[in-house]
């Protein structure tokens, strides 16, 4: 009988403790970020899809050496390059990233001898069909960025 009494009263006390805690939280500020209106800054090392870094003249540093292609676990990179006249190294003509297969592991970035590719910080990627993600053309992306910069 004493135990029952103890359990009922003690149990009721634990309930009031719980309600006290939630009430205290009730009067504190929400911790959420109201996403489309405000957003957090992506950290320095954030890994989104690859983009080219560029030389001062806006051309890519990529020398189409295919090391990233070999390092990629999911075979999601296609690189093509040509040797322009008067230049020592090859320059890239095509760099396609199949983003549907990329696992953002970073093997390509680590292996790159010229630091031509880095991770972008584009986190709000959205598309209505698969094709838009299927191939991300890094050369075109670099051109577009250059154009924007020129403007």
């Amino acid at each position: 009988m004493k135990n029952i009494f103890k359990e009922v009263v003690g149990g009721f006390y634990t309930l009031t403790v719980g309600m006290g805690i939630t009430l205290r939280e009730f009067f504190r500020k929400p911790v959420t970020v109201h996403y489309p209106r405000e957003s957090l800054k992506m950290p320095e090392r954030y890994r989104s899809h690859l983009i080219f870094t560029s030389n001062d003249d806006g051309s890519s540093k990529c020398i189409a050496c295919n090391l990233c292609v070999k390092a990629c676990p999911t075979d999601c990179i296609i690189v093509d390059g040509e040797k322009k006249e008067g230049e020592k190294k090859k320059s890239v003509t095509k760099y396609d990233l199949d983003f549907t297969r990329c696992s953002l592991c970073g093997a390509c970035v680590e292996v790159c001898p010229t630091d031509a590719i880095v991770f972008s910080k584009r986190y709000n990627l959205a598309a209505t069909d698969r094709q838009q993600f299927h191939i991300i053309d890094l050369c075109r992306d670099l051109e577009e960025r250059n154009k924007k910069k020129a403007q």
Binding site: V31, P43, C105
Partner: protein
């Protein structure tokens, strides 16, 4: 006062209840075929494999280090420990000595990851039991951990941060202070969690004495981690088969002999406390130096088979690699904790009530890709 659960009245008309593949309590795509007698479970059959991806085959058809991204995707909630086991196995095979700084950082990030994983479990378990608010509180704290790890590794879940022989990158500037601050903030939060939930009479009534899984059953089914520690046996890979710098650290292995859902709950709550201790010690001792050992460009572990086990958040995760001296693995076997932990559900759930069965399933802390691989 003893409040005895009511008993099933015996074999009568039964019906089959499909719990899942899409069901709030199965935390993913797991299907449990229950033969029910009213609210009592007469028989439970697990139907798994909905997210099977054949990771083991993937390990066999690519160079050793290219399997690394996969390891974070087996148990996405404690990816660090999984990657640790895989790189550990290769390091053991090749005899690579990992720099001490890298080992310490590995331990710090693993323990942070363990806390994050336990927080998800804690919130989701309370969600299973019908309490919604703890989930949000848990995620509030988990978010801080994920922010730390994101700033460090660039990803929030599938970190792929460890490399064979060390780490991908050294610590970033804010990590040490950020972690210290988190540890300081999280201690009172744990206390709050305890007062809000662990002592709550409704919660206690729901988990105490429910879902008894004793040590013998764990042994027969190979259940590990909080399952076996919740059955009173202090088995923890970090102590039993020490790896990394764990032997140098001072921490306890929480044990509860009650073997019920509450015991497993308490063990996990206490583990978070111990993880904080480990993190503090590692931060204090963190040596300077490189974070990457000299590793050959193409890995060719010598012939033979090698095991490496880590204590993941859900129990023992073990990688067994079989090498034939080639740059590609001959066999990569992933021994995942949830596989063993769930396999005893069929036996343990027999005769329970539906809600109790769910309370027990939640206490197993399932991650479905971990079972299905």
């Amino acid at each position: 006062m003893e409040l005895h659960p009511v008993q099933s009245t015996g074999p009568q008309e039964t019906f089959v209840l499909n719990l899942g593949p899409q069901h709030p309590a199965t935390h993913g795509v797991l299907r449990v075929k229950l033969t029910m007698d009213g609210e009592f479970i007469n028989d439970a059959v697990i139907v798994a494999g909905y997210v099977h991806r054949e990771h083991e085959k993937m390990g066999e058809n690519r160079p050793w280090d290219q399997f690394l991204p996969n390891t974070g995707r087996i148990d996405y909630l404690s990816a660090m420990m999984y990657t640790h086991a895989y790189v550990g196995a290769i390091e053991r095979a090749c005899g690579i000595e990992v720099p001490p700084r890298a080992e310490y950082v590995r331990v710090i990030t693993s323990e942070l990851n363990r806390i994050a994983s336990h927080l998800v479990w804690w919130g989701a378990y309370l969600l299973d039991l019908g309490g919604m608010t703890p989930l949000l509180y848990a995620f509030d704290d988990r978010e801080k951990i994920l922010d730390l790890l994101e700033a460090l590794t660039g990803a929030r879940l599938t970190y792929c941060y460890y490399r064979v022989g060390g780490l991908a990158e050294d610590l970033d500037d804010g990590f040490v202070e950020g972690t210290r601050e988190f540890v300081k903030e999280f201690r009172p939060r744990l206390k709050m969690f305890r007062r809000l939930v662990s002592e709550n009479i409704i919660f206690r009534k729901r988990v105490e004495g429910i879902g008894i899984i004793d040590a013998e059953m764990c042994r027969k089914y190979g259940a590990t981690g909080p399952m076996i520690r919740g059955a009173g046996i202090p088995n923890d890979v970090r102590r039993a088969e020490p790896y990394s710098v764990y032997p140098e650290l001072d921490f306890e292995i929480p044990v509860d002999p009650a073997a019920d859902s509450m015991a497993r709950y308490k063990v996990r709550m206490e583990e978070m406390e111990q993880s904080l201790r480990i993190i503090e010690q590692c931060l204090d001792r963190l040596p300077e130096g490189p974070v990457m050992a000299k590793v050959p460009r193409v890995l060719k572990p010598p012939e033979g088979d090698y095991c490496y086990a880590t204590e993941a958040a859900r129990g023992r995760f073990e990688v067994r690699i079989v090498s034939t001296g080639k740059p590609v693995a001959h066999r990569v076997r992933l021994r995942t904790p949830c596989f063993g932990n769930l396999s005893l559900f069929e036996e343990a759930a027999r005769g329970m009530m539906l809600a109790d069965g769910i309370a027990m399933m939640g206490s197993l802390d399932l991650v479905i890709p971990d079972i299905d691989r």
